[in-house]
């Protein structure tokens, strides 16, 4: 049995090297397919992380009067916290607000000098409200508008939902396009593998005829072609891992700069999910290729 398995593997490598150019084209198509799938994944991961990060950063602020008493503020905070859609409420004193303002504009000399000219802190205290779910944003705003408390000076309900919808819409379009490209590549891969095996069988028709003549079993005749497609898949997956890591290595510094302050690390995501990402890709690609090989072998190996 072991002898037969070793011989089958030997015959598989013979298949690959006798049609070396065809094998290279097959591997190239497989690499392109897997690369497109990984690009799709990268886009998906970045967009999901971006949306999630933006969601975390979206707050609604209720600005309070400067002379509001602690008890009044606490009462309002409790009232807001009780709203179903509210995840958390944080009180920001006018001093904290000033510190944050200074920090945000520390490189803007004009604003800093203007602040210094003012004797008093011009900012007001506020309640920063974080929503549980961005989709309930409108409900939350309606409920906040209904609260009529004398200590509320103004309300900042800028509609961040519109921006999120736009990001989601772009992400969906990119994903759909990526999905189509990947589906197209998978279809092309099926055709290419099918034809590669067909040509390999044609090249080996003399051997196959003799194998059948002298009583070689069907699995001995057919399996080398299936093993060849597995070797193509394994080789392509290894190359794609190299290419993707090279690509991510080049992309990483730009991503860090572009998404400064956001918690997005695509390289880390690939490192943490290495087996799931590439293992699954290998298994699916192997299954697709084996299917194509099996179809070709069943159709053409009756030499």
């Amino acid at each position: 049995m072991l002898v037969s398995i070793l011989r089958i593997i030997k015959f598989s490598f013979q298949d690959i090297f006798r049609n070396v150019w065809l094998s290279l084209v097959t591997v190239l198509i497989l690499i392109l397919t897997l690369f497109s799938v990984n690009l799709l994944l990268i886009v998906k991961v970045i967009s999901s992380a971006t949306v999630e990060n933006i969601k975390q950063k979206i707050d609604i602020s209720l600005y309070l009067k400067t002379d509001a008493k602690d008890a009044e503020i606490a009462a309002l905070k409790n009232k807001v916290s009780a709203i179903e859609e509210v995840e958390s409420v944080k009180y920001v004193s006018k001093e904290e607000a000033l510190d944050k303002f200074r920090e945000k504009h520390r490189n803007d000399a004009e604003i800093i000098s203007s602040l210094q000219e003012l004797e008093n802190n011009p900012l007001t205290p506020s309640l920063m409200i974080h929503a549980k779910d961005i989709n309930q944003y409108n409900n939350l705003i309606n409920k906040l508008n209904k609260i009529d408390d004398p200590i509320i000076e103004s309300r900042d309900f800028a509609d961040h939902k519109e921006m999120l919808n736009k990001i989601n819409s772009i992400t969906t379009k990119v994903s759909d396009a990526g999905f189509l490209v990947s589906a197209l590549f998978i279809f092309v891969t099926l055709l290419v593998i099918f034809n590669t095996v067909k040509v390999a069988i044609y090249t080996h028709r003399g051997e196959i005829a003799i194998m059948r003549l002298v009583g070689a079993s069907n699995w001995f005749v057919k399996t080398p072609f299936l093993i060849s497609s597995l070797i193509y898949t394994l080789f392509s997956t290894l190359v794609v891992i190299g290419v993707i890591y090279l690509f991510l290595g080049l992309l990483h510094p730009y991503m860090q700069t572009f998404f400064l302050g956001y918690d997005i690390n695509i390289l880390e995501y690939f490192n943490q999910n290495f087996l799931q990402i590439f293992g699954l890709q290998f298994l699916i690609a192997a299954a697709v290729n084996m299917l194509a090989s099996l179809m070709a072998v069943s159709k053409y190996s009756h030499v």
Partner: protein, 226 residues
């Protein structure tokens, strides 16, 4: 050894390649199956080796009903019935010895056994001094002897020779027939399918004659009658 009971093979729409063939070949016999081209000789070889299924009738080989063999069983039948052809079917990029060894390799035989058997069968067919040559370096007769050597590696009970002398001159043809007789003398049943009148007449063995897919004559010490 080989028993055919009312075997017919009909190709669509209604071409009768074999029509109610009945004969029985005993173990160790040497039988010539003769007839003109298109009389069904090759079809008979194909149904005997499981390459084609019969339309009607029954084929029993060594007590084994091979009429409706599954694809999985065919390789086992092929190890019982060795076949040689007019065109030798050798691999050009392998030496004569490698061609013989290939038959053992693809059936999972260990290397040691291959190294033991292959040179022995090359010796039986008289090619021990040429076994490292390639098919293009030897004569037609030597190629056919290699094909015979390859067919012998599993010590088959039956050797089917489909026009083995078709591509050979008379001297080489005679050598091949002598070799077949030698193999027959070891106890292997030999079925020689041919339309070579001289070969059949010189043999003086049993002759089954086919015409239009039917057996028209079956003689114990026959001659080529058509």
């Amino acid at each position: 050894m080989i028993k055919l009971e009312k075997v017919s093979k009909i190709y669509k729409p209604d071409i009768k390649a074999l029509d109610q063939i009945d004969f029985h070949i005993e173990p160790g016999e040497f039988v010539s199956l003769v007839g003109q081209s298109g009389t069904g000789k090759t079809t008979l070889v194909k149904v005997l080796t499981g390459e084609e299924k019969v339309s009607k009738g029954k084929i029993i080989i060594g007590g084994w009903d091979v009429t409706n063999l599954s694809k999985r069983e065919i390789p086992y039948l092929r190890r019982q019935i060795a076949v040689i052809f007019q065109d030798f079917k050798l691999l050009p990029k392998k030496s004569l010895l490698e061609n013989v060894a290939f038959a053992l390799q693809v059936c999972g035989q260990p290397k040691k056994r291959i190294m033991d058997i292959a040179p022995k069968v090359m010796k039986i067919v008289g090619l021990e001094h040429r076994m490292h040559r390639y098919p293009h370096e030897v004569s037609g007769g030597e190629k056919q002897r290699t094909a015979i050597a390859r067919s012998l590696v599993y010590q088959p009970k039956i050797l089917l020779a489909d026009e083995p002398t078709g591509n050979l001159d008379s001297i080489n043809a005679e050598e091949i027939v002598q070799l077949l007789k030698k193999i027959n003398s070891f106890g292997t049943t030999v079925v020689l399918v041919t339309h070579n009148k001289d070969v059949v007449n010189k043999l003086g063995k049993r002759v089954i004659t086919l015409h239009d897919g039917k057996v028209i004559s079956d003689q114990k010490r026959g001659k080529y009658i058509i």
